[in-house]
Symmetry: C2
Subunit: 223 residues, 2 copies
Amino acid sequence: MTKFAVIGLGMFGYRVAVTLAERNAEVIAVDKDPRKVEAIKDRVTLAVRMDSSIEENLIAQGINRVDSVLVCIGENFEANLLTTVLLKKLGVKQVIARAANDIQSQILKLVGADRIVSPEDDMGKRIAQNLLMSSILDYIPLTNGHSLVQIKTPSSFLHKKLRDLHLRDQFKVNVVAIKEHGVDQDGKTTEKIHSVPDPNHIFVESDVLVVVGSNSDIEKLAR
Amino acid sequence: MTKFAVIGLGMFGYRVAVTLAERNAEVIAVDKDPRKVEAIKDRVTLAVRMDSSIEENLIAQGINRVDSVLVCIGENFEANLLTTVLLKKLGVKQVIARAANDIQSQILKLVGADRIVSPEDDMGKRIAQNLLMSSILDYIPLTNGHSLVQIKTPSSFLHKKLRDLHLRDQFKVNVVAIKEHGVDQDGKTTEKIHSVPDPNHIFVESDVLVVVGSNSDIEKLAR
Ligand SMILES: Nc1ncnc2c1ncn2[C@@H]1O[C@H](COP(=O)(O)OP(=O)(O)OP(=O)(O)O)[C@@H](O)[C@H]1O
Ligand SMILES: Nc1ncnc2c1ncn2[C@@H]1O[C@H](COP(=O)(O)OP(=O)(O)OP(=O)(O)O)[C@@H](O)[C@H]1O
């Protein structure tokens, strides 16, 4: 049972701690601000008010004995860095540290951070890529010229069963998911995603296929 | 050709604007802080110093004529809200607004924001889910509690054929792709992605599976 500690309960740290705890992980949440500690104490295993950049505090609260620590302190880079250095010194197996830019990221890795996260930076990239394709399922590049792409049902598929189309042989693509669309009693459009498509599914015009394959094979299919 | 405007060039807005521009989208980057404008001006189509919460400014700089605007202002919620209201009033088709919590999210939607993003919150959830499945290498949320996830080969799969594992029936997940790893003549690691997995593929330890399914089914598989 993995024991986690989350240090720094800004928006990011708070959400990490609470999500882990909701999935029944053991979570110690740490912050020097008593209001942050108070706000989270009913949602984690243990909430501790302390300055994480002091070695004795880390030892006294047993932070050195957890498996994985996330240092989510944002603005105070020195506190973040010192906390990271101390945690590795105390033998914590996995230390994940937050960085605000490349230089911070390099420094943190140099002092032993096992992994770096940069929430605003990572999300900025994802949102941008997302927007360039009208939905996240429209296009996710995998590697080596393959992608995950969303396409409307090709007319040649209409009224046919998935299994009878032999897509793997014919087009060399893999249908990852089928989104079915309908209308509920209030007239609102509904969407049902089947990410383990039924081989007996019969295609209709309102279906959307989520396919994976090489870019050229997908283009042949989508024509 | 979609025209974007990004208002508020903190870490998040900066990254969104630069990523869009790197993919050849047309991007107007806006901030009231001249240093932010200066720092980004060579990396976007146009960088404008202005207060976005003033209607005349939005019109004068043609922000009302772009297709999609991201309001990435963080701390100043009133400026964020007012900017969002004005953009919808001026007829901008898609306004994506940043929210720091649920209440802000509800308010922004009420005044017409087409979509809400919460970088620290969204990344907090992703990182937490990522950490809970230690064999999970990446995690992309799809819709309705489904995700696309990369996992190391579960030990129970080793030396077995894909077809003999009956994954659809057993685990209700869909193996979208298999990444095979090897070493070339110069000793460098190679990766080959098979996005239309061969049913006769025999799993080895260095394989990585790309799977799609509901989050709970994927967790069972990744344990
Ligand atoms: N030495 C320290 N020990 C413990 N907690 C600390 C220390 N220094 C800062 N913190 C806490 O870290 C938390 C997050 O840091 P901060 O608010 O600077 O980041 P932020 O960038 O605003 O966070 P977010 O973007 O996640 O909202 C704060 O609640 C702060 O009290
Ligand atoms: N009325 C406004 N018009 C234009 N820009 C604004 C306005 N108000 C704030 N900004 C800009 O928005 C940017 C981002 O806001 P802020 O720094 O408050 O958010 P942040 O939460 O620190 O951002 P991030 O987490 O993305 O680094 C700042 O560069 C600020 O100058």
